[in-house]
Structure formats: structure tokens, C-alpha cells
Symmetry: C2
């Protein structure tokens, strides 16, 4: 049994080698932990700042054994970790956080929305879709348009397609590769908001201020933190986040994305059982950022303060936008974060900037 809180000098394992793993590893290092990264990618962003790197497929038994032997706790930086890998780690006696149930729920859009509704958390309407007949039936039930999404996989707007009318059903299913899917009703929202939420091993909950999300082509472009507007959505988002964390018996940081409707009510769009792009503003806008918070939570440490110290506008640097680093570094109130990725592919998240300004009024 791993003793918690984990003392500094312990090793924390991370499945995944991308920028989220990199920023988790930097936070872990600040607290005196060592990090071990398991990733199929040689020369990964996270691997280059970690004490140990295991380059292997996630389900490779030898790699999982090495990781389990090295680490006192193991976490992940993306939600599509193969369930078999987590089960094998547990079989080897490793401590994994967040728990596999949270991962399983988040990996399947049907399970996710069903779980949310059962916990009393509102979402858009949805039905599972495994055939053209079912999609046509969904049109009869909800009317057009519908948003068709694969149940599993998909991120940054991938694996989803708007279907305008019932006669487009067959084509839409073909476009998604005939995979198991769900159909969702439109959210009719006036804006998208998000909240980063953390829960410790003792059940303590810490919530960051609500933020406003701006997407382009399905990819987060900008976060405004804290979100403007009246306190009501803040309080409701906090209630939803706390309910979800407790229902999942969650340990770690979770990113929750919501729609704010015209009447101010909130619907959950989806959650990610990990640190999240909508929380990158916390790196420069809070006393303890989401990455350190996640490390604290999985290591059984007390959670840190979440109040905003600055107003932050976070902007993702996609593809060649990151080549503007020399100009960005010249802006005095801009903090530059670059992920160490080698190729500036179009739309690829290469880094982000946090632009700071004074808080108009304290939040939370």
C-alpha cells in the first residue's frame, strides 16, 4: 500500500508524453517529486523534463511493470488511456488516480451523459445511435438539427458532425466510420464556460473560478478568466462540479465544459478526467495552478488556493503561430509557455500565452 501523503522524493508516473504531461512534470519537480513518463513517442515534450522515460505502447506489459515498480502513484494526461493498461497497473499493485471508473465514464460519451444525468446534472438531450434507423428515429423525436458524435475517441472537434435532416443520416454515419455514436440536441447557448475542479484524497474539494471559452473549428482558441457576468452561473457551476467530483469519488483535477443558456442556466457539455486546456490560465493567474493542484491531489497532499490573483486571457498558439515567440516575449504582461514540440503542424497546440491584467474585483 502506498502511504499518503507521498513524501517528496517519491516518483509519480504519468501515462502520456504531451504538453499536459510536461506541465505536470514541471509542477511535480517544484514539489520535490521525480516523474516517470510512459509514452509511445520518442523525444516527447514530457519525456524531456522527466527523470524516467519509458518509450512503449501503453499496453506493453513490460513497460507497465517497469512503471508500476518505479512509481508510488500513477496518473494520466489524456482520457483515452486504454482501459487494459489501467487494469494491468492495478493488477500489479500500482495506485492509479483518478480512478478507472472516472476514466471509463469519460471515455464514452453515452456513459458520460448518462452518468451526469443520473447524478442530477443537466446535459443536452441525447440518444445512442448504432444504425441509420436509430438516427432517423432521433430526428422524429427531437427534430433537426442533431450533432452526431462517436461514443469513443475524438477531441478538438474531431469525431463529430452536424446532421441537418433525417435524409442525411446514412452519409453522416459513414463520415464517422460507422462507429457507435450518440446524437445530441443543440444546446442553444449564449456562451461556453468551463471550470477546473479538484478533489483530494480526503474528499476536500477546490474549485477555480468559472472561465469563458472561445472555440474556433472545434479547438479552444481563448480562455477569459475569471468569466465576466453575474455570480449565478459561477455558483451553479461550482455546485455541478462538486456534485460530479463526489459522484465519481474523484481524486485529481478535472476539467468541466459547460454551455450557458440564455436564461443563465448551465448544461454540462463534457468533462475531462485530467488537467485541461481551459485551466492553463491558472499557471499565471492563481497561487497554485491546475498542474500543481493535480500533483497535490494524487499525492495526497492538501489542496492549494484557487482564487484568481489576476485577470487572464489565455490564447493557444496553434501551428506556426508559435513562431511569433520573439514578439510575444517582448510583451511585459504576457507569460509565454512553449511545449517543445518539433513540428509546427497546422492546428497543433504548440504553446499558449497568458496575458495578465489587474482584477476588476475579487472573485470567489
Amino acid at each position: 500500500m502506498t502511504p499518503f501523503p507521498l513524501p517528496p522524493g517519491s516518483t509519480i508516473g504519468i501515462l502520456g508524453g504531451g504538453q499536459l504531461g510536461r506541465m505536470l512534470a514541471l509542477a511535480a519537480a517544484r514539489l520535490g517529486f521525480d516523474v516517470a513518463i510512459l509514452t509511445p513517442e520518442a523525444d516527447s515534450p514530457a519525456g524531456r523534463v522527466a527523470a524516467h522515460v519509458i518509450v512503449a505502447e501503453y499496453e506493453e506489459p513490460g513497460a507497465l511493470k517497469t512503471l508500476a515498480d518505479l512509481c508510488q502513484v500513477i496518473t494520466f494526461e489524456f482520457e483515452n488511456v486504454p482501459a487494459g493498461a489501467v487494469l494491468e497497473l492495478q493488477r500489479l499493485g500500482a495506485e492509479v488516480a483518478p480512478n478507472p471508473r472516472a476514466l471509463a465514464v469519460a471515455q464514452d460519451r453515452l456513459e458520460e451523459k448518462t452518468f451526469l444525468n443520473q447524478a442530477g446534472i443537466p446535459t443536452v438531450g441525447f440518444v445512442p445511435i448504432d444504425s441509420e434507423a436509430e438516427l432517423r428515429a432521433a430526428f422524429r423525436r427531437f427534430g433537426p438539427p442533431l450533432l452526431l458524435k462517436t461514443r469513443r475517441g475524438g477531441y478538438d472537434g474531431k469525431g463529430q458532425i452536424w446532421v441537418e435532416k433525417a435524409d442525411d443520416s446514412a452519409g453522416a454515419l459513414a463520415a464517422l466510420g460507422q462507429l457507435p455514436a450518440i446524437a445530441e440536441t443543440p444546446a442553444d447557448f449564449r456562451r461556453e464556460v468551463a471550470i477546473i475542479a479538484a478533489r483530494g484524497r480526503d474528499g476536500e474539494i477546490a474549485l477555480y473560478p468559472l472561465t469563458e471559452s472561445h472555440h474556433e473549428n472545434g479547438i479552444l482558441r481563448r480562455t477569459t478568466a475569471p468569466a465576466a457576468g453575474p455570480p449565478r452561473p459561477h455558483a451553479e457551476a461550482e455546485r455541478i462540479a462538486a456534485t460530479l467530483l463526489t459522484a465519481l469519488n474523484y481524486v485529481g483535477v478535472l476539467g468541466l465544459e459547460l454551455f450557458e443558456r440564455d436564461d443563465g442556466r448551465l448544461l454540462v457539455n463534457e468533462f475531462a478526467p485530467r488537467v485541461h486546456n481551459t485551466g492553463h490560465w491558472t499557471l499565471d493567474g492563481c497561487g497554485v495552478d491546475q498542474f500543481e493542484q493535480h500533483i497535490r491531489a494524487v499525492a495526497g497532499w492538501p489542496l492549494g488556493p484557487t482564487a484568481a490573483t489576476h485577470h487572464v486571457e489565455m490564447t493557444n498558439l496553434l501551428g506556426e503561430e508559435a513562431l511569433t515567440w520573439a514578439n510575444l516575449a517582448r510583451e511585459p504582461e504576457t507569460r509565454v509557455w512553449l511545449y517543445g514540440k518539433r513540428d509546427h503542424l497546422p492546428g497543433r497546440k504548440m504553446g499558449h500565452v497568458n496575458r495578465l491584467s489587474a482584477l476588476d474585483s475579487p472573485r470567489r
Copy 2:
């Protein structure tokens, strides 16, 4: 020739594997750089967060060749780097910053104080001491007591001894191993202050606010930042720091320790050609901390803002004091930094905490 500013993805070499190298490596990673550490220590604090680690003595030619081949710029985290290592790196075509002249001046207390005085910067009185006769002559010239220090080596109060009277001369020289030394007159200071100063490749200078230092047994125990008191010592310290940076044609961050006398005038005690313990408060008290600032400078980037955003009390965690991490992590306004050192030896710098409070009044 290395092109500056260095693009992200470049590799920055660091001589030394301790906590300063570790925090430099974390800062470099945030800006998208890779880091290579050269250190004789296996399993070093900095090596565990770097993309490349070369475990070898500093003057080992093969190791220096590997480092020079890997890195677009090379810097150091301690001032007692062997001069031969730096010369060999330059012979191999490597770009080294700060320059070897600054290193040579800082490595020898006689050269250091001579250089400072020649630049018009006041210090305590001093004379070189190579024999008992010279030390007895120093007593006749200055009167007692005198502070005898080895010219080279020595840190955290090591390599120095107070000599109360001329008849103790032989014993004092023996206690310091008969090494080449200097004798200094007492500073008669009311407090010790420090300033972290940076200079970019284009000659741009950035100065952090003056801070107050509290030593115990020759080791820094606490920094209060910004220093309380009237603006005069701040302005004088800034003038001194800027003069020194320019005189050394310096690139990077430099830590300057000063005595503040009863009349408010400042004398320089010593400077370190590197990031410095008296600048650890900047990690949580400034927009851009001393580690990122050093990386920016040596990489040829524009320097970042240095104004204090918080009042900070930095306290070093020495030896077993670091075992209190669980309590420290519970203090909401305390940021915990632990260095990943394995053994809690007495007096060893294991980590530090920054305790934050609101600025009474903006400084700088």
C-alpha cells in the same frame, strides 16, 4: 556562430546539477528549450528534469565535447566552475554566458574587490595576505578585528574566520589551510541587502527590487522582499548593479550582496555570477523570476518585467526542516519549493518557501 535570439527547441547547457540548475531547467522548459546538464553527480536534482545529462568531471574533455555539440549556449549554476572547462568549451566553439572574465573575477576575492573598486563601487577595506607577516601588517594598518578569507573557494560562510588580534595571525592562517587569502575590515552594517540584476545580449538591464537578507551561521536563512525603508538604498543599489553589469559586459543574472551602513550608504560584500539564493523570492513575487530571466538573457531574448507583485518572505529549508513539508503545504499563502535532494544533511539547502502577502505600496 550561434544565432540569437535562440529559437525554442534549442538546447541550453548548464554546468552544475544542483537546485539552481534544476530551477533554471524548469524555466527553460517553460520557454520550450531543452536542457543538457553536466555534473559529476549521478542522480542530481537538475539532471532529473533535463533532456540530457552528462555525468562527468567538469574538465573531462569528452564530456565537454558532448556538451558543446549538444548546446547552442552554455551557462553555469555555480561560480567555482574550473576556468579550464570554460576555456575548453570556447575552444570547441561553444557560446558561454556569462563570459569567462566575469567568472574569473568572481572566483577570486582579491580580484573581485579590486575590480569593484576600479569600477568606482565601494567595498570594505582589504589587503591580500600570503603570510603571517602580511596579516600582522594588516592589523597595524587597519586595527582589529579583521575578517580573514581564502581568495578562492568558500561559500555559505566556509573559508573565512574572524581574527581578533595580531597575535592570532598564525593560528588563523593555519585554520584556513595556509591558502592565499585576503583580510577585510569590518563592515559596520545595520543590515545586509541584496539585489538580483540581469543584463541581456543587447545591453538591456533589468533590476529586481532590493531585498533584505538574514544570515545564520553564514548561511542565508531568510529574504524579505522588497526591502523596507526609504528609497535611497534602492536607488544606490541599482546604480551599483548597473555599473557592475556594464563593467563586466555581463550577459545573464547576477546576485549582488551588500552591506547597508548606519548612514544608509552601501558597500558591496560580494557578487555571484549566476542566479542566487537571495532571488528565490522572485519565483512567486514577480512576473518573470530570476531563473526565466537568466534563460532569457543567455538565449538573447528580451528581458522580462521585474516589479514585485507581492511582498515575499523567503525562508530556506535546511536539513531536516524540509521534513515539515506536509505542514507547509497546508499554509494557503505559502509556496513550497523542494529540490529533490536525497539526504537531509544538517545545514544542507533542501528547499525553500515563499510566504506571500499583499504589497503595502508598489515598489519600482
